[in-house]
């Protein structure tokens, strides 16, 4: 008889440093999501090193990362990536500002057969990475849009 698997959890991870202006968009999105009181959702804040993230999920979880990116697009542009199915070979290493970015984390997790069932990245095109606690207005606006999309996704998944 096939063993029943425990239901997966949706793990939402805000990546970045909230004292480095736009780099803080991930953690600040997590702050907004905390107030939405979503069920079956675990919220995390990750700093600059993402390798440890691989051990935070199990195979049947869904994972959504929110991160500031630099890809020479318009500030505030939202990049939506499915890290398990999108062709990622052409994604520039500069896509994220961290030494081991979410794209590499997804590749490594897949290589080690530790990937979650779903793995998405919301990358928000950022402008300012200097010392400070303010987000650029375009980044702030996109963050709210991303949070609304994630809330909708979580509610749809549960229903």
């Amino acid at each position: 008889m096939k063993q029943l698997e425990a239901p997966g959890v949706c793990r939402i991870i805000g990546i970045g440093n909230r004292y480095r202006s736009d780099d803080g968009v991930g953690p600040r999105a997590i702050d907004l999501l905390r107030n939405k009181r979503l069920s079956l959702v675990e919220l995390y804040e990750a700093g600059d090193d993402l390798t440890g993230l691989i051990q935070t999920w199990s195979k049947n979880d869904s994972v959504i990362c929110i991160d500031a990116v630099q890809s020479d697009s318009d500030v505030g542009r939202i990049h939506r990536l499915n890290l398990l199915s999108d062709k990622l070979d052409n994604i520039s290493l500069r896509f994220s500002t961290h030494s081991f970015d979410p794209v590499q984390v997804a590749r490594l997790a897949t290589q080690l057969n530790l990937e979650p069932s779903k793995f998405y990245l919301y990358g928000i095109e950022a402008d300012n990475f200097s010392w400070g606690e303010e987000l650029t207005p375009e980044v702030q606006k996109s963050m709210k849009k991303v949070v609304d999309e994630i809330v909708l996704y979580c509610n749809l998944e549960i229903s």
């Binding site: 700093g47 090193d49 057969n113 200097s130």
Partner: protein, 429 residues
């Protein structure tokens, strides 16, 4: 006709933050080597002004996501020194345990994910995972054991919040240490396997007569305390640091370049190892020598071996501290506020980290100075780039570029920290 070329790497991978390098070669002679650091300046010293001293450990911990503990420890020790605070032995031990956690996290990340691919001719840890998945899984396990220490003692894994002036906000129950101890004993063998693995790597034949600088403590391998010493006669207290060390702004970089009496110096694991070899346990000294390290190692590529030695040390030291742990009677000691000035140096995973604070009778910070390990090492990295490029100038461009990148990664630069600060540029003109 002159044969000129530039080797240029616009974005240096496998380092924390953003930087580049540029090496200009004319008729097979290296003309210049520059490390460009172009993250915007972060002005955190100005940000600290008018903040109260109790905020300094938490604010400075935010400077770096890789070595927040180092920032907390240097700031806390500097302020405590100014106020004449002496913490009890159990608090001191907990702080050393927290530092062990950061060394384990940072060194396992650098050895396996950032530096080992250079020696194996691989692009990244993904390629290692394809060939040796168990090795990468063990590296993650080791790193997780370091994270667990920071999470428990520091209050959380990212930007810990439990450190305060005088001690900790909350002390740790002995029972809470049990799981940590089990994790550490479980990963101890991985640290020995790491050194064994690194001892099989091939190291470029490159040595320099470096001035090594690190802390040295009478009784232990240095982390939080000690005098600042060098292999060329320096022996000072942190209060004398600014009499000996200078910072200069260079137009090509947003980090300040640090010098010792206007000359180059080298800080980090290799310096610590050379200046504190006798403070390592005897069995580890023998193992280090057997692995390919020399008593006075001058080959910066062997830093990966030293990090592996320090991984063994940090795990065993953490186990020892937990075995002997007694919960402090109070999580922190009390103190009286007064106007004062104090400085401290601690050993971040990548080298010495200097903090100085001047504050008024209300504890408001009037002046702060922070010099990160990557600022300390910026000039020596450029020196190595120059000399290594000259030594291997006949190599094909792709190989030379690879060696130059590897040279910079010997220092595990943390550009995010250093920005007041990496992308490579070799110019053969």
């Amino acid at each position: 006709m002159d044969d000129e070329k530039t080797i240029k790497v616009d974005y240096l991978a496998r380092v924390e933050g953003e930087g580049a390098f540029h090496v200009k070669i004319k008729n097979d002679k290296v003309q210049e080597a520059k490390l460009n650091i172009f993250e915007p300046p972060r002005f955190f010293e100005a940000f600290l002004r008018d903040r109260i001293i109790t905020e300094a450990p938490d604010i400075t911990a935010r400077i770096c996501g890789i070595c927040p503990v180092a920032y907390q420890m240097s700031s806390t020790h500097a302020i405590e020194k100014a106020l004449g605070i002496n913490v009890d032995a159990p608090i001191r031990n907990l702080r050393r345990l927290l530092y062990c956690g950061e060394w384990i996290e940072s060194h396992s990340l650098h050895v396996y994910f950032l530096h080992a691919p250079d020696f194996l001719g691989m692009q990244d840890a993904l390629e290692i995972a394809k060939v040796h998945p168990e090795v990468v899984k063990n590296a993650l396990k080791l790193k997780k054991a370091g994270n667990a220490i920071v999470k428990l003692v520091g209050g959380r894994e990212i930007h810990p919040i439990n450190v305060k002036i005088g001690g900790f906000y909350k002390s740790i129950e002995i029972k809470q240490m049990d799981e940590l101890q089990r994790n550490l004993k479980d990963v101890k063998q991985i640290t020995y396997d790491t050194l064994q693995f690194c001892s099989t790597l091939e190291f470029p034949d490159y040595e320099q007569d470096y001035t090594f600088v690190s802390l040295r403590h009478e009784d232990e391998y240095p982390m939080n305390e000690g005098r600042l010493v060098s292999n060329k006669g320096l022996d000072i207290d942190s209060d004398q640091y600014e009499d000996y060390f200078q910072e200069t702004h260079m137009p090509h970089s947003t980090t300040l370049h640090s010098t010792l009496n206007n000359d180059l110096f080298f800080t980090g694991p290799l310096a610590r190892f050379n200046l504190n070899f006798d403070k390592l346990p005897e069995a580890l000294q023998k193992l280090a020598l057997k692995s390919g390290l020399e008593r006075n190692c001058k080959n910066p590529f062997k830093s990966i071996l030293v990090r592996s030695v320090e991984l063994i040390y940090a795990v065993e030291e953490a186990i020892r501290i937990i075995d002997e742990y007694k919960k402090p009677d109070m999580p922190s000691v009390s103190y009286k506020m007064k106007a004062a000035e104090g400085s401290a140096i601690t050993e971040a995973p990548r080298g010495i980290l200097y903090h100085r604070y001047l504050f008024d009778e209300k504890g408001l910070i009037r002046d702060a100075k922070i010099v990160a390990p990557t600022s300390h090492n910026q000039k020596i990295m450029e020196h190595d780039l120059f000399h290594l490029a000259q030594k291997f100038v006949d190599l094909p461009e792709e190989e030379l570029t690879w060696k130059c990148e590897q040279t910079i990664r010997n220092y595990d630069p943390c550009i995010s920290c250093a920005t007041h600060f990496l992308k490579l540029d070799i110019d053969r003109s």
